[in-house]
Amino acid sequence: MWAIELPPFVPFFIGALLILVSRGFLRAAIMLAVPVLGCIHLWMVPEGIHWQTEFLGYQLLPYRVDRLSLVFGYIFHIAAFISVIYSLHVKDTLQQVMSMLYAGSALGAVFAGDLLTLFIFWELLTLSSVFLIWASRTEKAYQAGLRYLVIQVLSGVILLAGAIFYAQQQGSLQFEFIGLEGVAGWLILIAFGIKCAFPFMHSWLIDGYPEATPTGTVFLSVFTTKVAVYALARGFPGTEFLVYIGATMTCFPIFFAIIENDLRRVLSYSLVSQLGFMVVGVGIGTSLAINGAAAHAVTHILYKALLFMTMGAVLYRTGSAKGSELGGLYKSMPWTTGFCIVGAASISAFPLFSGFVSKSMILIAVLSEGYDWVWVMLIFASAGVLHYTGIKIPYFAFFAHDSGIRTTEAPTNMLIAMGISAFLCVMLGVYPQVLYRLLPYDIGYNPYDATHVLAQMQLLFFSALAFAWLNLRGMYPPKLKSVNLDVDWFYRRLLPGIIKPCYAMILKTDASVRSYFMKWFRQFLFYISHHHGPEGLLSRTRPTGNTVMWITILLSCYMAFSFIYSK
């Protein structure tokens, strides 16, 4: 039915090339057309395996389509389209090319049917995305980008090692359920975990995303982590370990988010927290849970992109995304404010917004599998999300104390992009069946029953009440110009702190050993030259008698030996 079965990353890569050689309007048109056409193309492609090649005796499946990958495929196209619109005003070839490559790599990874292909796109994701951070062209962004690059490449290398172990164990590179048996599984899980921002591996995200360009962050928020979620869902569904990991992920970032000043950084923490929900879903692994995770990924992409877009717009207009410097912007950016509130409502999972329809699936799945404490943690995180994102973001940026900043509304293309995603957030919230039909498993699920709605509303409103109460009592943490320590402290402060003295010590030892050796060597040379040099003992013209003496000595030696040996 569809003659050409192009892997979805191909249009994006071609697009990237075309962007490189085109300018102005044409370039914009290409950038817009690629996701649209790609999405239509994907729509036509039947499920199944479309490409097969042989490499070193292993079957490679670079293009495999099934329902799980399709969900991510569609949402990536949509997100790419929105992000492209959002970034239309940018005139930076590097960013544009790289964002296309980035989106393409994500698609490639999602449709990869084997671990080697996955690895290739895994690394391409890294290489293309880091330029979105560097594109800020500040020293800080450069440093953050380097750290980002190192950690991401580490993930790739571990994935490669894991894949090789896997191939060794299984005799196949096919990317199916992997599980935690053997070293291979653990290595691959760690690789996925790094990209998925598992606790203690999450700092690259917090560190890197806020340093990217306003438009770059939007792209970043969409792809990398969701590819990781997809990979987890594919490789480790039903791994109980992930439930606890996910639960931790939902809870611990919110404490950091509460006290964080940089609003984009707050969003990054919230991103980790939301990923936690998906990881829990993957960990539970029932069809409902997997559906929940996939659905949550979809909705999360939309609202998190929306939130990042609003913050990006604020940053674009005001030059800052720090809570301590903003406030009262609703006056000059009313549309942005509105969209931000929609996004905030979605992430907080208010009924009729997209977050609600996906998050509730995961919660129910958790409960039905009997993970009581995990459930408690999740609803704690659900309540908390309202604090640190649902209220905090719009409140500090647009309301709160008037910072006196007066600016203009965001550019039209940004507004359109935000409008589309806001619309989608609401649409999915109101009419979730659209989303549910796409999910990997067919299950009849309806989020809108009285129990859920009421429980959720209670949770959220009382959470809001707590906010109001704390705020009025002056107990809410003030916005302070500061950085808060996180895991990255270990490698930004502690590790250099340890390594530098060690290095200094090693260098010192090395230098002293070297100098000792050189001293010894020089002495040796001196000794040599003293004896062998032009005026040395051995090369001087000696008086004749000297040699004759040697002759006598040698002769006596021989004579002595002769007398010893003669019978």
Binding site: S529, T544, F561, S566, K567
Partner: protein, 496 residues
Amino acid sequence: MLATHLPVLQVIIPLLAAPLCVLLQHPRMVWYFALLVSAAAFVTSVLLLQQVLETGEISYALGGWAAPWGIEYFIDSLNAYLLLIVTSISTIVLLAAQTSLAKELPDDRHTFFYIAYLLCLAGLLGIVATGDAFNVFVFLEISSLSSYALIALGKSRKALIASYQYLIMGTIGATFILIGIGLMYMATGTLNMQDLALRLADIPESRTVYAAFAFFIVGVCIKLALFPLHQWLPNAYAYAPSVVTAFLAATATKVAIYVLIRFMFTIFGVDFFTTTGPWQNMLLVLALFGILTASTVAIYQNNVKRLFAYSSVAQIGYMILGFSIGTAGGLIATLLHLFNHALMKGALFMALAAVTYRVGSVELESFRGLGKRMPWTMASIVAGGLSLIGVPLTVGFISKWYLIVALLEKGWWFVVGLILLGSLLAVIYVWRILEAAYFSPPENNPDETPEIREAPLSILLPVWILVFANLYFGIDTRLTVDVSRLIAQGFFGVSP
């Protein structure tokens, strides 16, 4: 008819030709004459070698008195091999003598030079050709006395001192050999080498034989400049006229080594050498010391001739090392290196003659920038130097290869290591010259010394003959290896 008299002709031609030079006063004429004589000797030696390879050993009774009463000239493959080396080098060196000497000797001394040269040649050939022990001493003295004279012809007054020192030591060495021979005669009552060998094997080992051995070996070691008895050599080589250095370096020490081999293996016998007493180890240790010390000293020399003289001491160490292994393999290595070292040192000292001819000095300083001005000369030094180091496809590699193989047969890994260390030292001292020649700018402006250009063909030609031989015998080793093998087989009875 003549073919039967080849052994004596070999010696007698240069010996008789020497006084004839007096008649030819003109330098050029003497040169032609000497060249002719040397060439004749060369042809003779080639014929002899051919004959020996075809029919085996040749015994020639001088004056018709049969050995052991009469004096016998005895040529086997070893002798023929040595004769070939000596005559070929002598001829090639003579090719350049005229041009080179023109700058180093006043015209009236030329005749005298050629007389001494031919005498020296005759002496060396006599040592090799004779089969009589006492005759060895006589020829040794002939060659020595003439070489003292040749060295004293050097331009610098230091040549006189060098010659004097050489004279003292050479005389002591020769006298020691004389004592050794006398003691042997005392023990056996014969002077003929073959006879000596037979009788020494019969009589019980006595102190007389041991004393003979001790005197003899020390005497020979002085002549072949084994460390630490080498002290006459650097100065003698450094201050002698260039052609003399080339000739002596390539032949004199080789002949001394021949004497060592002949007396040790033919007369005293392999068993005496290897089984009784620490002779082997003593030589081995001295050889190793020689290799390392002399190579190191060479690194520090600023006079290139002296540098190569020390290198010769080191190279002699290699030969003695192979000898001291006391196996057929070791002997092959020694014999190969004998030949190969003659080629490389011949080439190098001849190239230095070219440098002396144009630059007037062989101080390292004056080599700066010569790579461009005297490309062919310097190229020959490169080739000779590489050979000295033992780079493959040069003769140096071949002998080093056989030496190491012989050592490995014995399992002496440690010695192999030291030998290679010696090679590395050779790299350094050779490299010093090359760096000066190719990679250092000339000290003074080239415009100021425009006369420094490529050496004349008459010097370059012999240099390149030797360089070519260096390469040829490094690639086609049939002649040298086969002959060496044959000789070793003669002594050890087995083909390695």
